[in-house]
């Protein structure tokens, strides 16, 4: 792209905030009561992080992979791509993350977690709980109806933040699993920023926090 420095973030915004938020409203209406399953899966992830057990890394990876794959297909490819041609590539990235979670976490068993007493582990669990319980409240804080709520497992942002929380709580830094969630934080944060959305900073802070926690946990 020539003269790229003359472009502002808003130049890349293809849709209005109203259209973007309506997308979630219509999507939520179409997939209800799938949210119940998504919430149950999210709580299962949090519970597994907070407890012990030899299989929890594989189970958490499998749950996250399923959620990433669903968001790739159910939201990004089927819904978001109708107003944003770039969403096709985003869907491919989410599908790739699902595949990586299966390869590294489910089949490879390389996603182990810290002991329950670890402060980094608790911080990771905190990020997961933030994604499950606090992020969905953002819709009300910004004056939008509950019908436009973004939930873990069905919407990208809380799914990504919860995944970051899981990866913060991991025994070792898994850059191959962190790369796509961090990139999504940049993409989503930029989109929300361009829309002047009140919560545009949330994804950037989540990404920064996850990186800091991983660095301090070495």
């Amino acid at each position: 792209m020539s003269e790229w420095w003359t472009y502002a973030l808003s130049d890349f915004l293809l849709f209005s905030p109203r259209t973007y938020h309506r997308l979630f409203e219509l999507y939520n209406a179409a997939i209800w009561p799938g949210h119940v399953l998504a919430i149950a899966l999210g709580l299962a992830v949090a519970a597994l992080l907070g407890t012990g057990g030899p299989w929890r890394g594989r189970v958490v990876s499998a749950i996250l992979a399923a959620c990433w794959l669903w968001v790739a297909w159910g939201f990004l490819y089927t819904r978001y791509a109708t107003i944003n041609w770039a969403a096709v590539y985003m869907a491919a990235a989410f599908a790739a993350e699902a595949l990586l979670l299966v390869l590294a976490g489910v089949l490879g068993g390389r996603l182990g977690f810290r002991t329950r007493g670890s402060w980094v582990g608790r911080a990771g669990l905190g990020l997961v709980l933030f994604a499950l319980l606090v992020q969905p409240l953002g819709v009300r804080l910004t004056g939008r109806p509950w019908s436009q709520t973004e939930l873990f497992g069905v919407a990208p942002d809380p799914t990504v933040v919860a995944t970051l929380g899981v990866l913060v709580a991991a025994e070792r830094t898994r850059w191959e699993l962190l790369a796509i969630p961090l990139a999504w934080c940049a993409v989503s944060g930029a989109t929300l920023w361009a829309m002047d959305a009140p919560g545009a900073w949330v994804m950037a802070i989540a990404a920064g926090l996850a990186l800091l926690l991983r660095m301090f946990s070495r």
């Binding site: 020539s2 003269e3 003359t6 808003s10 130049d11 915004l13 293809l14 849709f15 209005s16 259209t19 309506r22 997308l23 219509l26 819904r79 109708t82 107003i83 944003n84 041609w85």
Partner: protein, 310 residues
Amino acid sequence: MQDATRLSRRTVIGSMAAAGAAAALSPTSGLAQSGAAIGKRIPSSGEAVPAVGLGSWITFNVGDDEAARTSCAEVMRHFFEAGGRLIDSSPMYGSSQAVIGYGLARLGRPSGLFSADKVWVSPGSRGPDQIERSRRHWGIRRFDLLQVHNLLSWEEHLDTLLAMKGAGQLRYVGITTSEGRRHREVERIMASRPLDFVQVTYNVLDREVEERILPLALERGIAVIANRPFREGALIRQVAKHPLPAWAAEADCANWAQFLLKFIVSHPAVTCAIPATTSVAHVRENMGAAHGRLPDEAFRRRMIAHVEGL
């Protein structure tokens, strides 16, 4: 207001005829009509089009949302009823082309439509496929105008578009840019290729094109479409904090939208401005700028001074 009284109606207002090749148009069939719109002629053909068109950037990209699509169709209905004809879109605008096609089908395909779209793909060899997809989205037999969007692969695309025009598959060929980008290159293409249209950003605050591109368009007989007339709404939000000056009525401006649009379309080189909206009330306001009297040069300078002083 002293200035307003000093300017006589004759010095302030150019009539439709004085605005340059203006004509009263009968825009559509099958739709109610609330008065003829000011028309400006396309230099390469002499065909007149209404001075206010309809853009679709962001506003018509509503995806599969049935309620929003219906709302866009209502905007189109009121646009046609007020004498509008030219609708502009691009494959870059997400679902906008399909939403326009939905609206056209819902309105019974108004015969007065002037379809303006773009080609935006690289390499240029992929242009014909994209143009065909765009045509299907609109649900029309052929486009009136196709433009090379933001000069992307412009050499190959211009060859394609000029060949289509030669074969009778297209009526007009153009290029676009926005927000002052690549103006030197635009000038070179305008000077060297047989263009019918050029689309640039022009409004009461963004007037860089007045220096070279608009004079060149007049010299070369190229029609001009002005995009971003309200700076995607930011300009109208800015001026709307202030009362419309009373003297605006001398150019038949009843609101800020008409004030800003009449400034644009009263330039002798400008053929059409393409404001985008999702609101029926706003499209009616916008189309009001295609009716009544147009400002002359002295009045235009006053408009600039006023807006810059806000």
